[in-house]
Symmetry: C2
Subunit: 312 residues, 2 copies
């Protein structure tokens, strides 16, 4: 059955019937707005949009995978502010000939990724469109800590990372060359493994700046360096290249560090901590903050690609 066949309200009924609601949801879908708990009396909010052909392909990812990725991109932004995600809202634009099963499985993926952090899909909107588009807004609660922005890094701070980089970019390269393995990389692209609790934990431990690595490590650290007025140096030997990545890089003629340093979409969290602070669980040192501007690798300029601009 196509989306056009069941109609807007029919599809909304089918999708909301598959969702479940956690303790943060005071009023779920079905009204003009949802009501979500905001115990901190401040709410963190972030929006990310995925466009078919640009951010995902239906032949590379299942609907469920796309749901996981769309949710992860947004939930990671909330975690990177030091907040715990509470809710997602989803605007879904679909071609009328799309099978309803695709939209239902997308909702399953969105709901499952949200549930893994205690958040729920609380509302949304649907429209027909020639271009399959998924815009997600995530909300989160700071639980009494100050939000961790991009502007607080100071010379002398330690640069630390939670989660992995380069895996999703390697998976995307593999898929774009027509392969379906290695599984480690392809699955990393399809469903990022985001270290969500590392965000609020870093905030509680005094992280001075934090960012979600979505455009590429060096590009995203560039935003922190600029906002904080510092230079950030990344230590290349802090990154282990897994065997599957090394093999794929060799087979495809790619420098694996271009994935690790410039590949996006794993949604690792990068943060700076005052020197001497014991890094929380899940965080490891990968560099240092100094005086100056920009991002360097082992003290020097990096000449590879550095990130992703969605208009170029």
């Amino acid at each position: 059955m196509s989306v056009g066949g069941v109609g807007e309200f029919g599809l909304i009924d089918r999708v909301t019937a598959r969702l479940s609601y956690g303790s943060t949801v005071l009023l779920g879908p079905g009204d003009d707005g949802a009501v979500v708990a905001a115990p901190d009396a401040r709410v963190v909010a972030s929006t990310d949009v995925l466009v078919e052909g640009r951010h995902f392909r239906r032949d590379w990812s299942s609907a469920r995978d796309v749901g996981h990725r769309a949710a992860a991109a947004n939930l990671a932004d909330v975690a990177a502010m030091g907040a715990t995600p509470t809710a997602l809202l989803v605007a879904l634009c679909v071609p009328p000939d799309l099978e309803t099963a695709w939209a239902e499985e997308l909702a399953d993926g969105l709901g499952a990724e949200a549930a893994a952090v205690g958040a729920s899909v609380v509302g949304g909107d649907m429209s027909a469109s020639p271009t399959l588009t998924i815009a997600v807004t995530a909300l989160g609660d700071l639980g009494g800590v100050a939000p961790v922005t991009r502007s607080g890094a100071r010379a002398g701070d330690v640069l630390a990372l939670a989660g992995r980089t380069g895996h999703a970019a390697a998976g995307l390269t593999v898929l774009s060359r027509g392969f379906r393995t290695p599984r480690l990389l392809v699955e990393a692209y399809r469903r990022p493994e985001v270290p969500y609790p590392a965000g609020p934990e870093a905030a509680r431990r005094g992280a001075t700046a934090m960012i979600d690595v979505s455009d590429g490590l060096l590009a995203d650290l560039g935003h922190v360096a600029k906002a904080s007025g510092v230079r950030i140096d990344v230590h290349r030997d802090a990154f282990e290249v897994p065997r599957q990545m090394r093999d794929a890089a060799q087979a495809l003629g790619v420098d694996p560090y271009s994935w690790i340093l410039a590949g996006g979409d794993d949604h690792a969290l990068a943060a700076t901590f005052p020197a001497g602070v014991a890094l929380p669980d899940g965080w490891r040192a990968i560099g240092r903050v100094g005086d100056g501007a920009g991002v360097t690798v082992d003290g020097g300029r990096y000449d590879g690609p550095t990130g992703w601009d969605h208009f170029r």
Copy 2:
């Protein structure tokens, strides 16, 4: 200059430079997430998406008009829960050849409509897409009142309306027949006049159910009737047909009540109040709630069109 020429971050810089931030904004755009005040410790959230060719046309509405409409559709949903809007987040998908001025003026319209209710555009995302798409999420604060849902209407309640209906639908019909006047109707389509404060005021005065009229009065009251398990009767003589609407209807061979009863997009608020409650300023009685199911007009079935399904 095209959007593709300035790039994603260039366009974000240009747009955010035009925005201003009210007292609800604790941290605005430029980080992974915004931080918005939620003094009530609950946040109301709603999402609506506008797709070019389906919800707007660039030859019928200026970018600024589209911004006003996109904001209004979302802010009205928040008001219809009884909440005061605090913030908007905007996911914007644009063809790379779009002029940056269009996106900038869209932001002006979004910001101006938000500012009129004390809310601000606090964040967003941008992507290239073949289809110009604007997904907006609105947040709001309940200020200590219970959210007014669709399910609380009771037999004996008075049905009341704040704002107008039929004007935007009439304006859309006029535009679709190639005319640019009457101004009253065309402007109503381009920039809805939403009675935002009437929402929280109705909540404080004990409204039992409330809804934003976006799909058409009878269709939207149908949602209330279904959720509340009641019949809602609309009194046709409660609606005055303005002269410009009557003239346009006659010229185009349309029943003006099809606009008033079934036309969407004015974003009036419809609410039910216990009999005997003095209606707050800006609200007028337009009908009655009774036992039964569905929506009637003057006690009988309405045979005209009743609303809008975005897939049909």
